[in-house]
């Protein structure tokens, strides 16, 4: 390894992919996806089913050759030096690749050996990973006899037993109960301290609790890419719900500064849409007192993450129709 490469590794992103595309026959499952992952970061890959999340992950782990594009793991080209690059990746596919008639320890030992953990360190690595993934007393159990939640942990354990730089988890919480989901999420957060984590999901709250950054995929394209903080900003209200004892005419409300549209709801309620940063709340309260409308409710409407998601993933559907 040249000296400058060694010096750069600390600041270098652990994973960079640029211009990834994948064709299945005439269908293009993934088009021009680019992503980078920094050390200690959790990136969420979000998208409806069939958006190309799994295909992208299969390409990033060398299970599928991209039609175009380039992938580097810690600066190593995955397509030119697959074994060197794969040694730095831990991957949990959508279906955990578990050998049901192996015990947890046997399985993790094979995983560690295959991922080039030095022979002398294998046993220690297995014990450490087992403890980390909450499998302390499970070493001698056959994987096939474990519950789904524990099997998922074994799946994560095999992905991190060799301390990879990049951990790629495809829907790690799918099919688990709420307690198990919380535990797995805590584990993922903990992993982020020492590894870069890329995870895919279609569970929206998961992204907010676990990820630092999010990329939303739809029909094989990246339609949104930003930090979680920015995503929250995106959700911040652009509407108020108000209720009055003695409601004024709609015209009076639409005349308020900043209000663009007024929607009449049931029970003397109205929804006032306004421009970003043009919140009319203050003026509204003052006017209500002056003109005796009897304001009893004033709620800023937060766009739910679902709405943002639906908005982003359906926007392109209309022109796609022939």
């Amino acid at each position: 390894m040249p000296l400058n490469t060694i010096l750069n590794t600390a600041s270098e992103p652990t994973l960079t992919a640029s211009g990834l595309s994948r064709d299945y026959g005439a269908r293009r499952a993934v088009r021009d996806v680019s992503l980078t992952l920094a050390r200690g970061e959790v990136l969420g890959l979000l998208g409806p089913n069939g958006a190309g999340k799994s295909t992208t992950m299969q390409m990033l782990t060398g299970n599928l050759a991209p039609s175009t594009g380039e992938i580097r793991i810690c600066g190593i080209d995955l397509l030119e030096q697959p074994t060197a690059a794969k040694a730095r990746i831990g991957y949990l596919p959508e279906t955990p690749p578990l050998y049901r008639d192996f015990t947890v320890d046997e399985y993790l030992t094979v995983a560690a050996k295959l991922h080039r953990v030095p022979r002398a360190d294998v046993a220690a690595a297995v014990v450490r990973t087992r403890n980390r993934c909450g499998l302390v007393d499970m070493g001698d159990r056959l994987i096939g006899t474990l519950s789904k939640g524990y099997q998922q942990r074994v799946g994560i354990a095999q992905a991190i037993v060799h301390e990879p730089d990049v951990v790629i988890l495809d829907e790690p919480t799918a099919g688990l109960d709420p307690n198990q989901i919380r535990e797995i999420r805590a584990l993922i957060r903990e992993l982020a301290a020492s590894h870069s984590v890329l995870l895919s999901t279609h569970i929206l709250p998961e992204v907010e609790t676990v990820c630092d950054r999010v990329q939303i995929l739809n029909e094989g394209r990246v339609v949104y890419s930003d930090t979680i903080t920015a995503l929250r900003e995106h959700r911040r209200g652009q509407a108020l719900t108000v209720a009055f004892r003695r409601p004024p005419a709609t015209d009076a409300l639409s005349a308020l500064p900043g209000v663009t549209t007024v929607e009449t709801l049931a029970d003397n309620r109205f929804r006032l849409f306004h421009g970003i940063g043009d919140e009319p709340a203050e003026v509204l309260v003052k006017l209500s007192v002056e003109r005796d409308w009897g304001l009893v409710e004033l709620i800023p409407v937060e766009t739910s993450l679902e709405e943002v998601f639906v908005h982003l993933t359906q926007r392109e559907e209309a022109p796609a129709q022939p």
């Binding site: 299970n63 690059a85 690749p97």
Partner: protein, 249 residues
């Protein structure tokens, strides 16, 4: 090499972790033992007459050779059952990703799986050698003939394993892999039966033809090359087929 051994060990662990391997070994031993005893019995009956010939066939030729001959046919049936799981079952259980994501090459995966199965088959061949050894208790054993037979059987079962492995890479259904491997092996086994012309090229590709000389105790480099080439060819095809999964459109 270390990776190949790791994969081979994993395969053996998978084989012995399931009852199939034990059942196969037990049934093989039962059949081999029966054939061995029948041959031994016949030898004891024939012994007085044989003594009248100037250069009579020995115990090894009459007792051990038939067991090896039968073993070849039985392994033709058994190897597809063992090889079917190598790739097809991993595909069906979606565990192949475990190996494909690991920093090992496809060649290492294929060689590891092949080696794992061959080691198992060596154990089966070993059963016969142990039985042949028991003849030492009562007489002379022609070690050269046993060695030639053993070499032939090992090469033959290696070829069976390579063919089975390749057919296992073609499908995600273990049963389909087993049946197609059996069909291919059977055709290769008897392909020269249809011809009466001794110069026919069909003799060149017949498995049985190349195995026969080992059974007689002779070792031709041509036969040796045939088996090694066949093993190499099917292993190379397996690597190619697995690589196509990655490129699949």
């Amino acid at each position: 090499m270390k990776m190949i051994l790791t994969i081979a060990a994993k395969e053996l662990r998978g084989l012995f972790g399931a009852p199939l391997a034990w059942v196969v070994l037990a049934v093989l031993q039962l059949i081999f033992g029966y054939i061995f005893l029948v041959a031994l019995d016949r030898f004891l009956e024939m012994q007085p007459q044989l003594a009248q010939y100037p250069d009579p066939p020995g115990a090894t030729e009459i007792i051990v050779a038939p067991v090896f001959g039968a073993a070849a046919t039985i392994l033709l049936l058994v190897v597809p059952l063992l090889s079917m799981r190598l790739i097809a079952e991993e595909r069906r259980n979606q565990t192949l990703t475990f190996l494909l994501s690991a920093p090992v090459s496809l060649l290492q995966i294929v060689l590891g799986k092949f080696l794992g199965l061959v080691i198992f088959l060596l154990a089966a061949c070993g059963l016969i050698v142990v039985m042949a050894g028991s003849l030492y208790a009562g007489g002379h054993v022609d070690l050269g003939l046993v060695a030639a037979n053993l070499a032939g059987l090992v090469l033959l079962s290696g070829t069976f394993a390579a063919v089975g492995l390749y057919l296992s890479t073609l499908t995600a259904q273990p049963v389909v892999a087993a049946i197609s491997a059996f069909a291919v092996l059977l055709v290769l086994w008897i392909i020269n039966m249809g011809t009466s012309d001794p110069a026919s090229p069909l003799h060149l590709i017949s498995l049985m033809r190349h195995y026969e000389s080992f059974a007689k105790g002779t070792l031709h480099t041509g036969d040796l090359a045939y088996f090694l080439l066949a093993i190499g060819l099917f292993l190379a095809l397996s690597v190619r087929r697995l690589d196509r999964d990655r490129l699949a459109t």
